[in-house]
């Protein structure tokens, strides 16, 4: 017997599937064919079945069912808790880029108005400089500086939201590496399901694409860490053991991502020994 969207066909005998568009959608999502014994469908059968009048009617009905099915699949895809987090963290990283870009430009602009100004030997962080530019400058320059300032405030709010959402969506991963970096891993992988399917070695270099391909194509050394470098555990580790810490951490992250995907709650029996193991890997052995 072959199951098609309009009904089941068995040696010229056809039992039609009766129902509205929605029940047809349920049907086509539940049936599948075995490709070894598959016989491509013949639309004439749907006429014999009493489902369609003619070719145009057949195409119109099939199109209506397929559009409804695709719409439902899209809706389901976006309803996952990770879908919004993905957009949030990508927005955050793009705001950072914009702030840096505009700050550089505003500093250059400010210098042309004040030729004697130099940032050398000053300990003024960029955001303080922007604040003073905002206050001291007339016209568009002051306004641009003001916008950068506002954008920085938005960034702070957004960063908090990302962190909180990450703790909720991926509690185990966030516990190991912090909400922000966990969210960035998610963004690089493309989703929680995708992240949970990655091997530890891939998680370790997630976000180090350029270095990784340079390594594969030429003889340059392999990257030791990607976005996980942003966590203090990796970048604060002594240089000699940094690669080792990254490796151990990535190994535990791979397990954590799977727990997040399949259980969705923090698992202390895993987290406590994992934290100890990662901390231990960062200790340089006294000789």
């Amino acid at each position: 017997m072959q199951s098609y969207w309009f009904g089941d066909v068995d040696n010229e005998r056809c039992s039609p599937f009766k129902g509205d568009v929605n029940s047809h959608v349920d049907r086509i999502r539940s049936i599948s064919a075995s490709m070894d014994t598959f016989i491509p469908l013949d639309w004439m059968q749907s006429v014999l079945c009493g489902i369609c009048r003619d070719r145009a009617d057949y195409i119109a009905r099939l199109q209506a069912v397929c559009i409804a099915a695709s719409e439902r699949s899209i809706k389901e895809h976006y309803s996952g808790k990770d879908a919004e987090l993905l957009q949030m963290v990508r927005t955050l990283d793009e705001i950072d880029t914009v702030i840096n870009l505009l700050s550089e430009r505003v500093a250059d602009w400010y210098i042309t108005r004040h030729p004697m100004f130099s940032r050398k030997y000053r300990r003024t962080p960029a955001h303080i400089l922007i604040k003073s530019v905002r206050e001291k400058s007339r016209g568009a320059l002051g306004r641009v500086a003001g916008e950068i300032d506002n954008l920085s405030d938005t960034r702070t709010v957004l960063a908090k939201e990302v962190s909180a959402r990450a703790n909720e969506v991926m509690p185990n991963t966030s516990a190991l590496i912090g909400g922000l970096v966990a969210a960035r891993l998610l963004s690089q992988a493309g989703g929680l399901l995708e992240l949970s399917r990655l091997p530890a070695s891939a998680i370790q270099v997630l976000g180090a694409r350029t270095a990784l391909f340079a390594h594969i194509k030429t003889k340059s050394p392999s990257p030791k860490h990607g976005v996980i470098f942003q966590h203090r555990r990796v970048h604060n580790a002594p240089k000699g053991v940094r690669g080792k810490v990254a490796r151990v951490l990535a190994g535990k992250l791979a397990i954590a991502a799977r727990l997040d995907y399949f259980r969705g709650v923090a698992v202390p029996e895993f987290l406590n020994p994992a934290q100890e193991r990662i901390d231990a890997s960062g200790k340089v052995k006294e000789s």
């Binding site: 072959q2 199951s3 098609y4 969207w5 086509i28 049936i31 599948s32 064919a33 075995s34 490709m35 598959f38 491509p40 469908l41 013949d42 639309w43 145009a56 195409i59 119109a60 099939l62 199109q63 397929c66 559009i67 099915a69 695709s70 719409e71 699949s73 899209i74 895809h77 976006y78 391909f213 594969i216 194509k217």
Partner: protein, 201 residues
């Protein structure tokens, strides 16, 4: 195929992606569409009004809309949700596009929807492109055509494009398809090749 001078066009409702119109027809830009590029650099497959087409990797429906202007019906398979939203919009405005949100490497899930086709067009940019095409040949009528757009960089970045091209040709020939034409799509698309084959009768 319809040419106005050396411009390839298709006849249908315009405004799908702000394409240029020429004498009431839609200009089919070879820089945007790999299939159009194939018609510019090679022969391709003549699209006729009675054709049924299975299109794998439909993306935003840009090329799909042009193909649909020429043929009877296009079954358009796409997996990613973001471009699928655009594809649905294009399908709503054309009677002969059937959008299917599915993974082209798992034909068993959309097999109950698709009939036997005259042309299988594949543009999926996956490492196992050739294998995906061969798996979908079950839908191809004997004597039907397969057009495979090979993005060599997606198959294996470490290998030379020419090497990937040759490997794919070998895989297709071994599977019993007859290669009719194989061309690089330069200058329109770099490191992309088109392979046209037929299924033996």
């Amino acid at each position: 195929m319809i040419w106005i001078g050396d411009v390839l066009v298709s006849e249908g409702e315009g405004g799908v992606y702000k394409e240029r119109m020429l004498g009431g027809a839609r200009v089919w830009d070879p820089y945007r569409s790999k299939l159009s590029a194939l018609y510019h650099v090679g022969t391709g497959v003549e699209l006729t009004p009675g054709m049924r087409v299975l299109y794998l990797g439909a993306a935003n429906g840009t090329t799909v809309s042009h193909v649909a202007d020429y043929v009877e019906v296009v079954y358009a398979v796409e997996f990613a949700p973001r471009p699928m939203q655009d594809l649905i919009e294009v399908s709503r405005r054309r009677k002969n596009i059937i959008p299917i949100m599915a993974d082209a490497s798992r034909p068993e899930y959309y097999a109950p929807l698709v009939e036997a086709v005259d042309l299988l067009y594949q543009d999926v940019a996956q490492p196992d492109q050739a294998a995906i095409a061969l798996r979908n040949c079950a839908f191809l009528k004997s004597g039907g055509f397969l057009i495979l757009m090979l993005k060599t960089r997606s198959v294996d970045v470490r290998k030379e494009p020419a090497e990937v091209f040759q490997d794919t040709l070998d895989a297709i020939t071994t599977a019993g398809l007859i290669v009719q034409e194989s061309v690089w799509l330069t200058p329109y698309h770099h490191d992309h090749a088109a392979i046209v084959c037929t299924k033996q009768t």
